[in-house]
C-alpha cells in the first residue's frame, strides 16, 4: 500500500517536472482495494484494470521501474512507451491491462475466466472497475454471461462515490451497487474498501467460490480518492469536509495502527519499509530517466503479429 501511494505521489511530481507527458488518474486513498484483492489471488490468476490502475498493477506484482518508464513513454516501459498509464499490461504477471474505456476490460476478464473453465484450470480472473462502470452495457452483458455460465471471475467494484465529477447517487438509483449482482444470479458483497483485511477476506472467499465452480461474486468496496479525477481536476464537486472525513479512515494509517496494536509489526520495521519504498521509487525514476525513448520506427511496429514480418498495411 505504501509503495502504491508513494508511486502515485512520485508520478504526480514527475509529471509536473516534465518526465511524464500524459494523463494520470491517481488512486491515492484507494490502496486497500488493490492490495487486499490482489493478495487474495494466485500468481497465475489474471486481472483487468481501469484508467485508475497503477495500484492494481503494483499489487499484482508490477515492477515500478517498468511502470515509471512506461509513464515516461520510454522504450523499455511495459508497453514500449506506446500504451502509457491507460494501457499498461504485463501478461506474464496476469495483468491484462489498464483500460481507457470505462467498463471496457470487464468482458475481457469474463473471457479469460471462460478459457480457464473450458481448460479445467484452477485459475480465476478478477475485473476491477469503478462505480461509474456499472452503468455501462459492457458490465451488464459480461455479468450476465458470467452468472449464466458460472465462470470463475470476480467483479470488483471500487466505489469511490464519484464518476469524474458526478456523485454515484446521481448516476444510479441504488445506494449499494452490489445489488446489481442479484439480477445476474450471483452474490453481491459490500465491504469497507479502506480496510485491507476486509478486502482480502472477501476476495479470498470469492476466489474460493470461483475455484470451486460456484461462479462469480460481485464485491463492492466503498472507498474514496483523495486526488482529483485526474491531476489538475479543480474538484468543484466535493467538499473539504467530505475529503477530511475520508482521510480520517485512511487505509494505510489504519493498517499500520492495526499492525502495531497487534504486535505483528514494530514501528522500526514499518520505517524500514517506508525507506525501502522511497529507494525503490528513486530507482524507478532514475531507471525511467536513463532509458532512451523508443526509436521512431517503433510507432509503425507491433500492429500485427509475427506472421507479417513487419510489413505495414
Amino acid at each position: 500500500m505504501a509503495l502504491i501511494r508513494e508511486f502515485e505521489l512520485r508520478a504526480i511530481r514527475e509529471r509536473r517536472n516534465g518526465l511524464i507527458p500524459g494523463f494520470i488518474h491517481a488512486c491515492v486513498g484507494q490502496e486497500a482495494t488493490a492490495v487486499g484483492a490482489c493478495t487474495a489471488l494466485r500468481p497465475d490468476d489474471v486481472i483487468t484494470s481501469t484508467h485508475r490502475g497503477h495500484g492494481h498493477l503494483i499489487a499484482k506484482g508490477g515492477d515500478p521501474r517498468y511502470m515509471m518508464a512506461e509513464l515516461a513513454a520510454r522504450g523499455v516501459g511495459y508497453c514500449g512507451g506506446k500504451g502509457g498509464s491507460l494501457h499498461m499490461a504485463d501478461f506474464n504477471l496476469g495483468i491484462l491491462g489498464a483500460n481507457g474505456i470505462v467498463a471496457g476490460g470487464i468482458p475481457m476478464a469474463v473471457g479469460a475466466a471462460l478459457a480457464f473453465q473450458m481448460r479445467n484450470e484452477q485459475r480465476i480472473a478478477l475485473a476491477f472497475f469503478g462505480d461509474g462502470a456499472v452503468n455501462e452495457g459492457a458490465f451488464h452483458e459480461a455479468a450476465n454471461l458470467a452468472g449464466l455460465w458460472k465462470l470463475p471471475v470476480i467483479f470488483f467494484c471500487e466505489n469511490n462515490l464519484y464518476g469524474e465529477g458526478t456523485p454515484q447517487h446521481r448516476q444510479a438509483p441504488l445506494r449499494d451497487l452490489a445489488q446489481r449482482a442479484a439480477s445476474y444470479g450471483f452474490p453481491g458483497v459490500i465491504i469497507d474498501g479502506n480496510d485491507v483485511m476486509a478486502v482480502y477476506e472477501a476476495t479470498t472467499q470469492a476466489a474460493e467460490r470461483a475455484r470451486a465452480g460456484e461462479g462469480p461474486t460481485f464485491i463492492e468496496g466503498k472507498t474514496y480518492r483523495y486526488r482529483g479525477h485526474y491531476e489538475g481536476d479543480p474538484m468543484v464537486y466535493r467538499s473539504q469536509e467530505e475529503l477530511a472525513a475520508w482521510k480520517a479512515r485512511d487505509p494505510i494509517r489504519r493498517w499500520r495502527e492495526r499492525l502495531l496494536a497487534s504486535g505483528d509489526a514494530q514501528a522500526s520495521e514499518l520505517e524500514i519499509i517506508d525507506k525501502e519504498v522511497q529507494e525503490q521509487l528513486d530507482e524507478a525514476v532514475a531507471f525511467a530517466k536513463a532509458s532512451p525513448p523508443p526509436p521512431l520506427e517503433a510507432a509503425l511496429a507491433g500492429v500485427y503479429g509475427h506472421d507479417h514480418d513487419g510489413r505495414i498495411f
Binding site: V46, T48, G77, Y78, C79, G80, G81, K82, G83, H87, A89, F91, L96, G97, N99, G100, I101, G104, G105, I106, P107, M108, A109, V110, G111, A112, A113, L114, A115, F116, M118, R119, A125, G137, A138, E141, A142, N144, L145, L148, A301, G302, V303, Y304, G305, H306, D307, H308, R311, F313
Partner: protein
C-alpha cells in the same frame, strides 16, 4: 481431388476441421449451437463438439466479442459469430478499442487470435438493419484484418488462415453467397491473406469484385464477353491486408478500373482502393476509376427499391462500356 460444396458448407468445414485439429478452437454466438446458426452455417457442429465448444450465448454482442478477446489472450482460438453484421455496432467498443488495439497498446506483446464471423449483405427484403455491408468501417481501424471471401474455396482457405493466425480477423460472409456452389480441394489447405485472385482474364478493363458481388460481376463479364469485351475480374479476398500489387499489375495491363462492392459507395472499400490505384497506377490509366456500389441510402425494405439501389450486372456492364468509350 476436389468436391463441389456450398459456401456455407465450406465455412463449416473450416471450423470443424480446425476444431478437430486443435482443442483451443471453439465457436460461440447467438443460436450457433442447438439451432445450428440462423443461416445454418454451424448445423451439426453442436452434435459433434457439444455445448462447451459450440456455445450458445445470450444476445449480448459486447460480451460475445469481449469474452472472445479475453479467451484469445489466454491462448484459446475463439471463433465468434455476429449473427447479422449490422449487430456489430453493439460490440463496437470491444472490436475497435479492445480487440484491434490489444497488441499495439501492450507494446506488441499480446497475441489475440480471435476470429469474428459476420453475415453481411442484403439478402432481400431484410431492410435497413439486417442488410448492411460494414466492412469499410473497420478498414479505418489499424489492428484488424478483414477477409471478404466470395467462393467456397476462398471461404474455407481464408477462414483456416484466420483461425490459425495470431491476430484478430473480421470475416465477412455475404448472406447471398451461403448457398452458392464451388469447388474446394479435398486436402487440407489454407489461403494466405493479402493475395488477390483472378476469376477471369482480359484486357478491356480490370473489374475489382469484393465479396458478395462476385456472381453479379461474373454475370456481367459473361455478357460483355458475348459482346466481344474481355474484362479481367480480380478479387482481393482480403481488404486488410490488401494485395494492391496485383490490382496495380492488372490495371497496368487493362488501363481501366472499376471497383464493385455492396457496401455504400461513400467511404466504402472502393474509395480506398481507388485512392491506392490513383497513387500507384495513375500514369497507366486511360480513364477515371469508377465505383459500382450501393447508393448512399439505408437499404429499403421494398424489394424493387432494394434492387434499384444495389449494384447489379447492368451497372457493371455500363461502367465498363463507359470506360471503354471514354476519351481524354
Amino acid at each position: 481431388m476436389s468436391r463441389i460444396i456450398t459456401f456455407s458448407q465450406a465455412i463449416r468445414e473450416a471450423m470443424v476441421e480446425e476444431m478437430r485439429r486443435n482443442p483451443d478452437v471453439f465457436l460461440m454466438g447467438e443460436d450457433v449451437g442447438l439451432f445450428g446458426g440462423v443461416f445454418g452455417v454451424s448445423a451439426g457442429m453442436f452434435d459433434e463438439f457439444g455445448p462447451e465448444r459450440v456455445r450458445d450465448t445470450p444476445i449480448s454482442e459486447t460480451a460475445i466479442v469481449g469474452a472472445g478477446l479475453g479467451a484469445a489472450l489466454m491462448g484459446m482460438r475463439p471463433i465468434v459469430e455476429i449473427m447479422f453484421a449490422d449487430f456489430v455496432t453493439v460490440a463496437m467498443d470491444q472490436v475497435v478499442n479492445q480487440v484491434a488495439k490489444a497488441r499495439y497498446m501492450s507494446g506488441g506483446k499480446a497475441d489475440a487470435p480471435l476470429t469474428i464471423r459476420l453475415a453481411n449483405g442484403a439478402p432481400g427484403a431484410a431492410a435497413s438493419q439486417h442488410s448492411q455491408s460494414p466492412e469499410a468501417w473497420f478498414m479505418n481501424i489499424p489492428g484488424l484484418k478483414i477477409a471478404i471471401p466470395a467462393t467456397p474455396r476462398d471461404a474455407k482457405g481464408l477462414l483456416k488462415t484466420a483461425i490459425r493466425g495470431v491476430d484478430p480477423v473480421l470475416f465477412f460472409e455475404h448472406k447471398g453467397l451461403y448457398n452458392t456452389l464451388g469447388e474446394v480441394p479435398d486436402e487440407d489447405y489454407a489461403i494466405p491473406f493479402g493475395q488477390a485472385t483472378y476469376h477471369c482474364h482480359g484486357s478491356a478493363a480490370t473489374v475489382i469484385a469484393l465479396g458478395g458481388v462476385l456472381p453479379t460481376v461474373m454475370n456481367a463479364a459473361a455478357h460483355l464477353a458475348d459482346a466481344g469485351i474481355e474484362i479481367e475480374v480480380v478479387d482481393p479476398r482480403t481488404l486488410v491486408p490488401l494485395d494492391i500489387e496485383t490490382l496495380v499489375q492488372s490495371v497496368k495491363k487493362t488501363h481501366r478500373a472499376v471497383i464493385v462492392h455492396e457496401a455504400h459507395r461513400r467511404g466504402g472499400p472502393g474509395a480506398e482502393i481507388a485512392a491506392l490505384l490513383a497513387e500507384q497506377a495513375l500514369p497507366y490509366l486511360d480513364a477515371p476509376i469508377l465505383r459500382v456500389a450501393t447508393a448512399n441510402v439505408p437499404i429499403p425494405y421494398n424489394p424493387d427499391l432494394e434492387h434499384a439501389i444495389l449494384p447489379d450486372a447492368n451497372d457493371v456492364i455500363s461502367a465498363v462500356t463507359n470506360l471503354i468509350s471514354y476519351r481524354l
